[in-house]
């Protein structure tokens, strides 16, 4: 008996040690690129290839950040990205939570089909819809009627009825408003799962008091769904922030941060000529500047975020 206890005690100890090593090792692997980016971006060009400098540069410099800010037009692109991501995320949040609530709490014919449609939106590759979407935005008019007029009757919609949305932010706002923004299907799913887990009694009490369905939703359900809203908001903000696909296709004039970053190599080439050793620390500084706003947000919200993911039990 004693032997058995000893053995299990030993196993527990060994597992604790192994677990510690795994966590520390993997954490290091995850943090490594960020540490590396920081280390590279604070050193001057001549120290990039210097083998005697591994982690800590001999001389610190903020030149790379200054150059990155210049080449990325940080002020303007930051402002643009912030505005677009925030507005689109908020619109997404509203439309997706409405849809999620509808799917979670009401019975109506065709509900299962609509839920399948929500999941389907995740599977449709963006490439399959972008070309028609581009043409649709180019002369945006009454959907469904205008393509039929165009294709079958070969008469374009009258110009007073159509408007060019390319290069405007409506290309992000319109889908977000109607629950079809970037990865909106996932958000609707998260909201549905969350609203299903809220006890019915809350709503029933409100309805006995004579509140309508919509009033019940925004008075009772929304305040109780803070954690789901936070989770979706973070996801949504991150994905809009990182988007280069839609902004490359639909927006040509204004630069978001993501576009500025993906074009940073070219801007540097045009600015200082082709020299990898000079440009790579600037690029990494640019990367850091790009993720900085997300990192700051994450540091402040991560506690709530992790907690809310657990509480919402996205999974249900």
């Amino acid at each position: 008996m004693n032997k058995q206890i000893f053995a299990s005690e030993l196993m527990a100890r060994v597992w604790k040690l192994a677990r510690f090593l795994i966590i520390v090792g993997l954490s290091f692997i995850l943090l490594y690129p960020i540490l590396y980016m920081i280390s590279m971006s604070v050193r001057s060009a001549d120290q990039v290839a210097d083998p005697s400098v591994i982690w800590i540069p001999k001389v610190y410099t903020f030149e790379n950040f200054v150059s990155a800010v210049k080449y990325m037009e940080y002020d303007a692109s930051f402002h643009t990205s912030m505005t677009v991501s925030l507005t689109s995320s908020i619109l997404s949040l509203i439309s997706c939570s409405l849809a999620g609530y509808g799917l979670a709490r009401f019975k109506f014919r065709g509900k299962e089909i609509w839920f399948t449609c929500v999941i389907m939106t995740l599977i449709v590759p963006a490439q399959a819809v972008t070309i028609p979407m581009y043409l649709q935005y180019q002369s945006f008019s009454i959907p469904i009627i205008s393509p039929i007029m165009n294709i079958i009757f070969e008469t374009p919609m009258p110009s007073w009825l159509s408007v060019n949305l390319i290069d405007t932010w409506f290309v992000f706002w319109l889908p977000a408003m109607f629950g079809c923004g970037i990865r909106a299907g996932l958000y609707i799913y998260i909201f549905r799962q969350f609203f299903r887990s809220i006890p019915h009694e809350l709503e029933e009490a409100a309805q006995v008091d004579g509140a309508g369905y919509f009033k019940t939703f925004y008075r009772i359900m929304v305040p109780n769904a803070g954690s789901a809203y936070l989770t979706v908001f973070i996801f949504s903000l991150v994905w809009y922030w990182n988007d280069t696909f839609y902004s490359n296709v639909f927006i040509s004039r204004k630069a978001t941060m993501a576009k500025a970053l993906s074009g940073l190599g070219e801007s540097i080439k045009a600015g200082i000529g082709v020299n990898e050793y000079r440009s790579s620390p600037i690029k990494l500084a640019g990367c850091l500047l790009f993720i900085l706003p997300l990192m700051i947000m994450y540091v402040f919200l991560q506690n709530y975020f992790v907690e809310s993911v657990e509480k919402t039990g996205i999974v249900g």
């Binding site: 954490s27 960020i34 083998p51 109506f108 599977i123 449709v124 889908p175 993501a258």
Partner: protein
């Protein structure tokens, strides 16, 4: 049994309210998915060409039916070798990485679900990829930035390129061990970096397993191994399905992979709109079939906890 008229009216009212909540999505789905998908299917049968004014010509022909042809399909099956190869490569790649990602993220989630000191910090670090990661940033640190230094390896070269190997060589380790170590860490890194959302979903599922089940299992004298296979694993099977599908879609529709590059290049580089639509459609149908198969095969294995 016949319902009372008042009850029936109430049910109808609730149904109408439910549809009203879903209405924005319904409109969006029709305008931003159904319509473009049908249009892009239609484009595969005609020859869409951009005109100078920024408009479009929808094929050549006097009437609507004269324009329809199968030229794009012929071209597709005879000429586009790059596309097919890349398509096969993408699906193969996905078939290999998906199980690795699923198993790895379940393992990490199990560890993070245990109680230990520093758990909060560990979680913050492991979920960081969800927030920070994007194809963009990753391609940037692993690809572009080291374009001159990296070899043409498939995995990210960050650990070869950056100081890591120097540090190890500085410790007087033999060359072979250094290269094995760096390649392993690179692969772990690549996998780990893709696991953020999956770990999150698994962790949420693990938190949802009722503690009574564990207690009951312990009283029965089950070992940790048995508890995992009899209690933990069955409880997370629904999320395994969600995660498999999420991983497949996330990996395969990532706009930075080669296949998407070819489709984008055909559409927005060479302005072959019709061919790009056809490429995207073939891909979409294969993806649908794949997801359908995953559903079919896993349906029986999934254990649903009954709602109380």
């Amino acid at each position: 049994m016949r319902r009372k008229p008042r009850e029936a009216a109430e049910i109808r009212r609730r149904a109408r309210a439910g549809k009203l909540f879903l209405l924005p999505f319904m409109i969006g789905f029709v305008c931003f998915y159904v319509q473009p998908l049908l249009l892009s299917l239609f484009y595969t049968f005609i020859n869409v060409q951009p005109t100078k004014g920024g408009g479009l010509t929808l094929g050549v022909g006097d009437t609507f039916f004269d324009k329809l042809n199968l030229e794009n399909y012929k071209y597709m099956f005879e000429q586009e070798n790059d596309y097919w190869q890349s398509l096969i490569g993408t699906f193969k790649d996905m078939a290999i990485t998906t199980p690795v990602i699923i198993i790895f993220s379940l393992f990490i989630a199990l560890i993070l679900n245990q109680k230990f000191r520093g758990r909060v910090i560990a979680r913050a670090i492991f979920f960081m990829p969800v927030v920070v990661t994007s194809g963009l940033v990753m391609s940037f640190i692993t690809g572009d930035a080291f374009a001159d230094q990296t070899q043409t390896t498939e995995t990210s070269a960050i650990f070869q390129a950056a100081g890591m190997s120097d540090i190890l060589q500085g410790m007087n380790l033999p060359e072979d061990i250094v290269s094995i170590f760096t390649s392993i860490t690179s692969q772990i890194f690549d996998t780990l970096w893709l696991c953020g959302v999956q770990i999150l979903l698994f962790l949420a599922a693990l938190q949802g397993v009722s503690p009574q089940l564990y207690e009951a299992a312990k009283i029965e004298g089950a070992t940790g191994w048995e508890i995992f296979w009899k209690v933990t694993f069955p409880s997370v099977t629904p999320i395994i399905l969600v995660n498999i599908i999420y991983t497949i879609i996330d990996k395969i529709t990532d706009s930075s992979n080669g296949l998407m590059g070819i489709i984008n290049g055909t559409g927005f580089g060479a302005f072959q709109y019709s061919r790009a639509c056809l490429m995207a459609w073939i891909f979409f149908i294969l993806l649908l079939v794949l997801v359908g198969l995953v559903f079919l095969f896993t349906r029986k294995m999934i254990f649903y906890q009954t709602d109380n």
